[in-house]
């Protein structure tokens, strides 16, 4: 089973990006996409392009910051990192996700 892009809600993508940056530190867009795919064991067949509007949105809200850097194989790339506001947001969203999924799980089990 795999998820198509439309099933990945916008908020979920945001959460995934924040979580990824939290665990691997500053990273460029390609790295983030790769990481999300690896972690989801390729279940998440996401168009990598959709990542960029999301990154832009997160940056506009001040949850992540970006600056130009150089990649491991000497390529110029834009690196994103989590800000303090972003970390707070991650904690909040993770909690609300837990609550939400816990609730859905309970509902699914009882029926």
């Amino acid at each position: 089973m795999s998820f198509s892009k439309s099933e990945v809600l916008q908020g979920t993508l945001d959460l995934l990006v924040l979580k990824t940056l939290d665990s691997i530190g500053p990273m460029h867009g390609f790295g983030i996409a790769l990481r999300i795919q690896q972690v989801s064991e390729d279940l998440l067949q996401l168009n990598q392009g959709t990542l960029y509007p999301a990154l832009l949105r997160l940056e506009q809200r001040g949850w992540i910051a970006s600056r130009w850097g150089v990649s491991e194989n000497n390529r110029k790339a834009k690196y994103y990192s989590l800000t303090r506001a972003g970390r707070r947001q991650l904690v909040e969203e993770a909690e609300s996700w837990d609550r939400m999924s816990g609730m859905i799980n309970r509902v699914l089990r009882t029926t």
Partner: protein, 887 residues
Amino acid sequence: MRELLRTFVQRLAAIFRRRQLEDDLDEELRSHLEMAIELNVQKGMSVAEARREALRSFGGVERTKEMCRDQRGLPMIETAWQDLRFGFRMLRRSPGFSLLAILCLTLGIGANASVFSWIEGLLFRPYPAVVHQEQLFALTGTALGEADLTSWPDLLDLQRSCTLVDSFIVTKITGTTLSIGDRAEVTTGSIVSANYFDAIGVHPILGRGFETGEDSGRNAHPVTVISYQLWKGRFKGDPQIIGKTQRLNGVMHTIVGVAPEGFYGTFVGWAMQFWVPASMEEVFEAGDYKLEDRGARWIEAYVRLKPGVTLSQAQQEISAVAKRLANDYPATNRGRDIKLWPLWQTPFNNARTLLPTLEIMLVVVVFVLLIACANVGNLLLVRSFTRRNEMTVRLAIGAGRGRLLKQLFTEGLILSAFGAAGGLLVAQWCRHALVLLFPARGGVAMHLPGEIDWRVLVLSAAVCLMTTLLLGLVPAMQTSTIDLAGALKSDAAGVVGGGGRAWVRSGLVVVQVSLSFVLLVGAGLLLQSLQRIRNFSPGFSTHDVLCTAVNLVSVGYDAQRAQTFQDELLERVKALPGVESAVFARMTPLSYGSYSSTPIAVDGYQPPPEEQPTVQYNEVGPNYFSTMGIPLVSGREFTRVDDEKSALVAVVNETMVARYWRGKNPIGERLQVKGRWMQVVGVTKDSKYESVREAPKSFFYVPLRQNFSPTAGLYIRTALSPGSMATALTREVHALDGNLALYEVITLQEQVDRSTSPQLVAVTSVGVLSGLALLLTVIGLYGVMSYAVSRSRRELGLRMALGASASNLLRLVLSRGLALTAGGVLLGTAAALALTRLLGNLLYNVSPRDPLAFGWALVVMTVAALAACFVPAWRATRTDPARVLRD
């Protein structure tokens, strides 16, 4: 919330960094793809395969970019910006149209902004240098409901008793003469209370204002603060000016301060040049000491209310004090109240005289603006026909009608914004235009500045927006009726006289005609009223009498010397060839500066309890009535016998006889003035004293010799012109004393004309504006007729081919134009019948429905309409049937 704001700011910022962000995005995506390809190659794919795979998993580079762009900026603002740029391009493409439209709007909005700036500068915020004008109100006494001035003792009592008033500010316009060479120049100034400069928050740039106590003690403080212009002009900006002395009305005054630049005093209409404390009142009020006289009402005053106090609260408190004063001092204060006025209703300066004119002008400029809008609307409409193809194509390739409307409104906004900018320039330019309508009196020009402040700007912007909406309506109607299928087929050419959407344009023209017809009627009524006022006999001769004065006080003549001088000069003047008679008298009729008024008592007249009979009077020399041409009804003139040594006498007018003697012949009866009894020796016909529009009022005369004043005017009955008389007079005056200066010599008719300048202002301003309106209407009519003719060339050609003669066609087009005009005139007549009542008290002896004015407006309108239609009609007759039918 903070995030939303932050997002908005970032998006906004992104609009201005567009190019750089675009490059960044390109670079970022490129680096993403390259990394992906590299990785795929490492996995063992060929380069081409690696690229394909990378692109596939990326999923559409351009799409991603587009999504990023939407996320990045503010699409709404960006489309607005696009519309704006497109709008500018469209306007540049048809410069003739754009210029005409902007010109019309500039005139329309400019007229509005000018009137706003005058209203602001003269009525609402008349004293720009004064702090917190919103707490400033004018104060006058009232007698039987009529505004009157106040007295110094009354004002001191108010000051002691009122708790809601921050300060009472006394000012009284006065004048002195600064003689320059052999010409005397009147300089206006103010007699003020000592708190004046502190209370209005104006701080002299040199020296000081007045100090507490400088307004008390009879003639105790001969000090003066001079205006910036006087300092720069007459004193050449002397930095050591403080402490120097200047003779004012014969008394040496020490200059203690120089007022800041841009401060013109607190009297709408005149720029004050000097200020003296109230203690010097006697010197400036013709030797009449009034500071301890409760009955002498001479003060023009303002109050500054404490913060938060309203007009009605303060009025209550002040009225209570006035009532107490009326009780305590019945002899002087019976039946009197004291009243506060908003600045724009100030009764004692030119605010009052200009108020009705400015109100009318406000209505008139709205009309002008509507006419201008109709014109531009018509232009837009005509253009929207020529742009039909463009609109149709844009609709066809998927533009929403909303988007199209937004585009059209944007174009309207550009036009009206240009119009508003131009209009503000016009207003700035016209700031001092009102002054041009007032003649300079005795060399002192009036000061009537407009004021363009933020309130005027806001109001003009509102007018501009309203204009945009009005303009937007027209093309909006147009696009909503475009139907794609129909527009593909070519429009059938219109027919002169109807068809298509011509009714919108015709309707606009009819409205224009009716609006300008109303204005023409108004101008006609005012013009007639002015003529009647000026030709109306004021009760004295206006053409054969000259008036002037010699300034004796400012060079230090005392009463004795002045009297001798007057006698000698009179002898010399009477000996001049062409002079019939000459006389000195204290006041000139119809001049600003009121006559003395005094409480009187009459034998056998018992005043009702609430009334203290008070009558104005003038001090005049022998043969005054025959010189001035004021007819005597009975009794005799004053003669040389009525001097200091003989019994006191008076001459009264007919209204006074009717009022106080109930029409009985008063000759030989007694009249008490200021405690002195005098015998009535003559009765004159009524004449006009302070204004040609005043109702008949009681008035009396006393001999100048028995009530001497050195500030008397000279009146000469002669057929000579003012110019030649001035030369002769100057010679005679200098023969007596080389230091003396003569005021300007004018006819009494000139004096009448000057006193009616508010009417002149009304006529001129409404006249100019209705001329403007007429011009705009003619342009509109011309535009519509030319367009109709050019659209119906085929029809015209056909008619010609079928045998219509040139005169047939001429008549066809002209009659169409005249039909529109007739419709407008009908509508305008109805509107004018309802609206001319607004002219109210600007009209003198003219009915607001005067048929002459309506007829006059009809003639002007018809001629203008014929002129506007003639060129298009003539062009219609030049249609070449062969060519038109072939096309």
